[in-house]
């Protein structure tokens, strides 16, 4: 009936002549009812937080006792206020919420995450992380492949909200053969009616017909892309319209914080009960080649406060044990700071996994600050090992198949 999946599986190329015009309105509300989190086999939700630009891992998880750290960072080192995790390592002073989660056993930190032959280009390295392939490229994202898998085993809700991204673009991790949705606001996510002298004229039906006809008459792949995208949008917006009025945040999100707004939108979408499986938010600004400290301090503060509110909000709505948050960044920074009180592109960095599903603690090995590769850290844990651990240990998905290889499963998660 709803042909986007069939169509996308063909790789965006052929257009099916004579395929039935989908009737998308009928199933939106029905799907909403059927996809409450309790009704699905595991109902587990993964929220990815992308720290775009290359987060300075050494000033996030800080080896405060290491003389080499102090030597390499004459102006950037954190001398005071480090939130100690043990006698070697501590969190940046602004990560107080994460420290509280650590104390509650709900924060797992994987140290020294990277991959062989690190690429120091933002975009090449992002693509590697997004596709979980050291070639990168434009194929499906690693979470997109998970969504494909859910579809294959019949666990997908019948609308485009199973994969949600806060913002105006669908991130490459979520590229898939199933529809996913970029969201900026649930309230504006709808086709506005025409206002005719104060009377609202609904235009969904005629506009849908325009796009339906253009699906085959228009040039490939645009005709079909426009038609299927409009159908997804209207289906998701109609499903949301039945729910969005009821959400009340159960936490106070920081004002004027884009990452807080993004996470609040994700919480609202999750709480709507329409069956979000994976969500993506981005905090940008980590490419701190110069005058890093004030910028990086502020970014970590924003991140920490937004995450604390998000976790509290979800717990207040009964989703506390159904959501896992994972951070990632395309690379860390150079060990030695540069001449402009910043850091150039580097390699390995820690990843954070947050929430009730994790077994708190430190995992992997902190890389040496003296045995470097061209000034950069040598990674100790492959990022695909973390992905595999999440796919297999949390999402109950076949990690080897989805990642195209066998990676060590880390005991990061409760059963």
């Amino acid at each position: 009936m709803f042909s986007r999946r069939d169509f996308m599986k063909q790789g965006l190329l052929p257009v099916f002549a004579g395929s039935a015009v989908p009737t998308i309105f009928a199933n939106g509300v029905a799907a909403a009812a059927a996809d409450s989190p309790q009704a699905t086999p595991n109902g587990r939700i993964l929220v990815l937080v992308q720290l775009a630009g290359g987060n300075d891992g050494l000033n996030t998880l800080i080896p405060f006792q290491d003389g080499a750290y102090h030597d390499a960072r004459p102006t950037l080192r954190q001398d005071t206020g480090v939130l100690t995790l043990n006698n070697q390592l501590g969190l940046h002073p602004n990560l107080k919420g994460l420290k509280a989660s650590w104390d509650a056993g709900q924060l797992a930190i994987v140290q020294g995450v990277g991959y062989p032959h690190p690429n120091l280009s933002h975009f090449a390295s992002m693509s590697i992380w997004e596709t979980a392939s050291v070639q990168g490229g434009i194929g499906d994202g690693w979470l997109g492949r998970y969504l494909n898998y859910l579809d294959q085993v019949g666990e997908s809700p019948n609308h485009a909200l199973e994969g949600v991204s806060a913002g105006s673009l669908v991130p490459p991790e979520l590229r898939s053969k199933t529809p996913v949705t970029a969201l900026q606001s649930l309230q504006t996510f709808r086709l506005q009616p025409v206002n005719e002298h104060g009377t609202q004229v609904d235009v969904e039906n005629p506009v849908m017909k325009f796009y339906g006809a253009f699906k085959t008459a228009g040039p490939a792949p645009f005709g079909a892309l426009l038609d299927t995208t409009l159908q997804e949008a209207l289906q998701a917006s109609n499903a949301l319209r039945t729910t969005d009025a009821s959400y009340q945040a159960k936490a106070t999100y920081p004002a004027r914080s884009p990452i807080a707004s993004s996470l609040k939108l994700v919480a609202e979408t999750i709480v709507s009960g329409l069956g979000v499986r994976v969500a993506h938010v981005t905090l940008g600004g980590f490419d701190n080649h110069s005058k890093e400290k004030p910028v990086h301090d502020k970014l970590l503060l924003d991140l920490d406060q937004a995450l604390a509110a998000f976790m509290q909000d979800l717990a207040g709505h009964g989703y506390g044990d159904k959501v896992l948050v994972m951070t990632w960044s395309e690379f860390g920074r150079r060990v030695k700071e540069n001449g402009s009180a910043g850091t150039d592109h580097g390699t390995a960095a820690p990843m954070f996994l947050l929430g009730a599903p994790v077994k708190g603690g430190l995992y992997g090995q902190q890389p040496s600050l003296s045995a470097l590769d061209n000034g950069n850290l040598k990674f100790t844990t492959d990022f695909r090992s973390v992905y595999a651990s999440v796919l297999q240990g949390y999402l109950n998905a076949p990690a080897s198949e989805l990642l195209g290889g066998n990676y060590e499963i880390l005991p990061l998660l409760k059963a």
Binding site: S168, V180, F214, L226, K291, G339, D344
Partner: protein, 488 residues
């Protein structure tokens, strides 16, 4: 005209004929001294921003091409959408009466067209206060330029450079972005090496990619890396050592005055900060400057092919055939890296007017917004509101998502952006109530959609007009809510 009869025949050109069916063979160009020993002489000829060298070589390469668009108005409207931001019915009529050669020339030869009317309408930006102009005011100012310029290609190329040689308000100041915007406009079709040398010293760029902080003994790799990865050769043509060494060559340029560097509009060379040591770059060693690095990067074939691909993708369609890239890269190298010469070749190619090119680009939010405002009209408030409305469509002027610019293409379209694009057209049509560019369905589709829509769309528009005879704004919106309108 229905979709079926307007869609050009797709029978391909014969295999032995290049895609663009050049009446002047490459051999003739080479024989005229454009390669080998003659290249240096020609390089002098191409120096500067004088368009006459470009215009003298415009040829009609499109006649009798079996796959080409045949309707003169469709060809004119297609060119005006790609080379600019859409057109009025009068613009289309004017170009439709020309030969292809004249059309290309009229688009390229914009320096002869006065923009005084636009300049008279533009708001005055406050460039003298310490913090420079308000970012929203600069965004609205540029959008107004796109909508009201008499030189569409100049503005379109400015948008192209903004998306390739990126800087952004997340680091650079609004005044700096304004200055950079003026540089892109002035050098819109200039020689690429000249443009890159200017951009390397441009205050917005120096802040955005940290060259301001790149000093002798304290190199900062940011600009050097992106210059190679994104602006010239692309990845795979340089080493990490090339990044580190060329960063040293770009030392010495600093911003003048003030601790608030994002508000500083002037760059100066300070020999004290320049690393005058030997640098080993791409197999050569010397006391290189940043300009030297640019002069080594721009002649590389990888640069020629990459920029040619970017330009063709921006103007014609994605994934150009290798022979098209080869031809454009040859043009680039034989014209001393002249961007205008490459753009001229693109607009002269049959491929540009082929079925493959027609409606084969998704309108960027800038294009959609400017074209919509051209159709509906806008006042000062409308430009500010519309510049803001671009964010949920996925593009904020002067604020690219990262140094790689906007990914573009099909990534402009997802469920969220598509609803916002349609809703924007709705709001613009409401705002323009009563000033619709046309009153009948046929006039509207002719002006906005090449008169080329599916019969379903045509019937739907007629049905709306019949059911809502007084609602001009509603009908205008319905024409802009079509899938045809989403494409360029």
């Amino acid at each position: 005209m229905n979709m079926d009869d307007a869609t050009p025949s797709s029978s391909p050109a014969t295999r032995s004929t290049p895609i663009w069916r050049r009446p002047v063979s490459r051999r003739v160009v080479l024989a005229s001294g454009a390669a080998g020993a003659g290249a240096a002489a020609l390089a002098v000829l191409w120096k500067g921003t004088d368009l006459s060298q470009i215009l003298n070589r415009v040829r009609d390469l499109t006649h009798a091409y079996p796959g080409a668009l045949s309707d003169p108005r469709v060809r004119a409207a297609h060119l005006l959408r790609r080379a600019g931001f859409g057109a009025t019915a009068a613009d289309v009529d004017r170009l439709a009466a020309m030969t292809s050669t004249m059309m290309t020339q009229s688009v390229l030869d914009y320096q002869k067209t006065s923009n005084a009317t636009l300049e008279g309408k533009l708001p005055t930006l406050d460039l003298t206060s310490a913090k420079g102009p308000n970012a929203g005011a600069v965004q609205a100012w540029w959008l107004q330029r796109m909508v009201q310029t008499a030189r569409p290609l100049e503005e379109k190329m400015t948008l192209f450079w903004h998306g390739l040689l990126t800087s952004g308000l997340d680091k650079s100041g609004a005044g700096q972005m304004y200055v950079q915007n003026a540089l892109f406009r002035k050098m819109a079709l200039a020689n690429f090496d000249d443009l890159l040398k200017a951009v390397s010293k441009d205050p917005a760029m120096m802040v955005y990619l940290d060259t301001e902080n790149n000093r002798k003994g304290k190199p900062n790799e940011n600009y050097a890396r992106e210059l190679m990865e994104l602006f010239t050769t692309g990845i795979g043509h340089y080493t990490e050592d090339d990044v580190r060494e060329s960063a040293r060559a770009f030392t010495g340029w600093t911003l003048k005055g003030g601790t608030q560097l994002r508000y500083t509009m002037q760059s100066v060379f300070n020999a004290r900060y320049f690393d005058s040591g030997q640098k080993a770059f791409m197999g050569k060693t010397g006391n290189f400057t940043g300009d030297d690095i640019v002069e080594m990067l721009v002649p590389l074939r990888a640069t020629a092919e990459r920029l040619s691909t970017h330009l063709f993708t921006f103007f014609a369609y994605q994934n150009p055939e290798p022979e098209i890239v080869r031809h454009l890269a040859d043009t680039f190298q034989q014209s001393h890296y002249n961007v205008g010469a490459v753009v001229r070749e693109i607009f002269s190619m049959d491929a540009f007017y082929s079925a493959k090119a027609y409606r084969a680009l998704v309108k960027s939010p800038a294009e959609l917004t400017a074209q919509t405002l051209r159709a509906t009209g806008a006042d000062a408030k409308g430009f500010v509101a519309s510049a803001n409305a671009m964010a949920p469509m996925g593009q904020v002027l002067f604020y690219p998502p990262n140094v790689a610019g906007w990914p573009g293409g099909t990534s402009w379209i997802n469920s969220s952006t598509l609803l916002n694009r349609i809703n924007f057209a709705n709001a613009a049509a409401q705002r323009a109530a009563g000033s619709s560019p046309a009153r009948t369905v046929d006039q509207l589709t002719a002006t906005l959609l090449d008169g080329n829509v599916t019969s379903t769309t045509r019937d739907g528009l007629h049905a709306f007009a019949t059911a809502h005879p007084d609602d001009q704004a509603g009908l205008l919106f319905m024409a802009m809510a079509t899938p045809e309108y989403q494409l360029n």
